[in-house]
Amino acid sequence: MTQYEGITRRGMLGLVGAAAATVPLDSGAAGAQAASGEVTVRMTVNGSATSLTVDPRVTLLDALRERLQLTGTKKGCDRGQCGACTVHVDGRRVVSCLTLLATLDGASVTTIEGLADGDRLHPLQQAFIEHDGFQCGFCTPGQIMSAAAVIAEGGARTDAEIREQMSGNICRCSAYPGILAAIRQARTEMR
């Protein structure tokens, strides 16, 4: 990556590769509502214990992006209609835009930043590159998180099943054939 001109480097920390962003645990009891109307939520994000005190209207998506600097998860529609914000909550894929952070006390969240094993790409990430399963890349984190769940659920047995199971993730570039091929390949590798 190159420099971010016009802004101090410090201001940009956490922008890229912030796979294990952790916010200091605060002293508020989990589940308690602060006097200001804010809510404290303790959860695990990509394996790290995290505690956030937020406005109850904050979605998991906005918490990840604006509070934890995990910007790999994207906001494409904010209404559950595109799938760009797909993450795993307690092992299941959800659209983080329709998930209130305040409902996730005690939950375990995995985002695209938590998928790779250190510097080694996850088989799906590698397969998406090899099969050109993206163009602009904006829906890609959501596609990959969704695909990981499909394979884990055993829902990727046939092409028709993959297409159906991946239909919650819109790719306007329409890299669907590449996505399909990538999932086929990763399905074998992940066994």
Partner: protein, 295 residues
């Protein structure tokens, strides 16, 4: 804004009694769409995800199922496909897999949108909705639950706690027409349940009226035809004219409008097709495998 996080049903009911304007939120897939855009500015949110009583289902004494309002669609599909075949079929068509992991029948009922995918089956199987408040519990047949566009009999201090579904005594079907192959709001949908036990049939129509609708005339007609021909006892293939008439009566029961998803005329036509086809499948099912199912 207050955020209420009860961990028991009793606490949830008392919270709802104290703050009737609090918006209940379980999967969030309906409520959040509005919150995200400030279409609604509730003074409080009532988080039901921690209420264990809502997240379970159990068999009832009469062989039916009590489905907690907070059981997500995915669990209905994976755990209840045999007990609640029609509901499981409808659940498979809801939104996307991500939505199905969070969304619930309770939420579908709470929103009471005529396009909600589970309503036609709930109508067809004659389900009932369990509503609770600190005042007590009442059970409302789903056929009396909807009162208008996105309106229901739910009182402001009540919570939808469960749906009561009778034992599937016969084949059930659900079918939906959409413009796209997946992740699509129904242009129209239809649910059908055959009840060999008492010789009746149940129907439900979605996305073709201000509320989910029942095709009562069609039910009476088919019930009569099946009885007159003694078809429950000696099931023969249904004649084309019976299937066609059933379809016509279903279409006549609808009250559709023209909108971006389809014209009223198309909806009526498609409903007659869906009714004919689901009846064909269900009857075929009854003739070949119905006995096993009843056993």
């Amino acid at each position: 804004m207050d955020f209420l996080r009860p961990t028991s049903l009793a606490d949830a009911l008392s919270a709802k009694a104290d703050q009737p304007e609090a918006v209940p939120i379980a999967g969030g897939t309906d409520v959040m769409v509005e919150l995200n855009f400030d279409h609604r500015r509730p003074s409080a949110l009532l988080d039901l995800t921690r209420v264990p009583e809502l997240a379970t289902w159990e068999p009832t004494a009469d062989g039916g199922t009590r489905l907690g309002a907070g059981v997500p669609y995915t669990r209905i599909i994976t755990e209840l496909g045999a007990r609640l075949p029609g509901l499981a079929m409808a659940a498979r068509t809801v939104g996307s897999p991500q939505i199905r992991n969070r969304g619930t029948v309770g939420g579908n009922l709470g929103a009471a949108s005529p396009a909600g995918d589970t309503h036609p089956v709930l109508l067809a199987v004659d389900a009932a909705v369990e509503l609770r408040s600190v005042r007590g519990t009442r059970v409302v047949p789903v056929r009396e639950f909807y009162t208008g566009v996105k309106r229901s009999v739910l009182a402001s201090d009540e919570l939808i706690t469960a749906v009561l579904l009778p034992r599937a005594g016969g084949p059930q079907q659900f079918s939906k027409v959409g413009t796209r192959n997946a992740m699509v709001i129904a242009v129209c949908s239809f649910g059908l349940a055959l009840h060999p036990g008492d010789g009746t049939v149940g129907t439900g129509i979605g996305s073709a009226g201000p509320t989910p609708l029942r095709a009562t005339e069609a039910e009476w007609f088919l019930t009569g035809e099946l009885a007159d021909g003694d078809l429950w006892e000696s099931p023969k293939p249904l004649t084309d004219s019976v299937r066609r008439r059933f379809g016509e009566l279903v279409a006549e029961a609808a009250a559709p409008i023209d909108d971006v998803r389809g014209s009223a005329a198309y909806r009526r036509h498609a409903l007659s097709v869906l009714a004919r086809r689901t009846l064909g499948w269900a009857w075929q099912d009854y003739r070949t495998g119905g006995d096993q199912r009843c056993a």
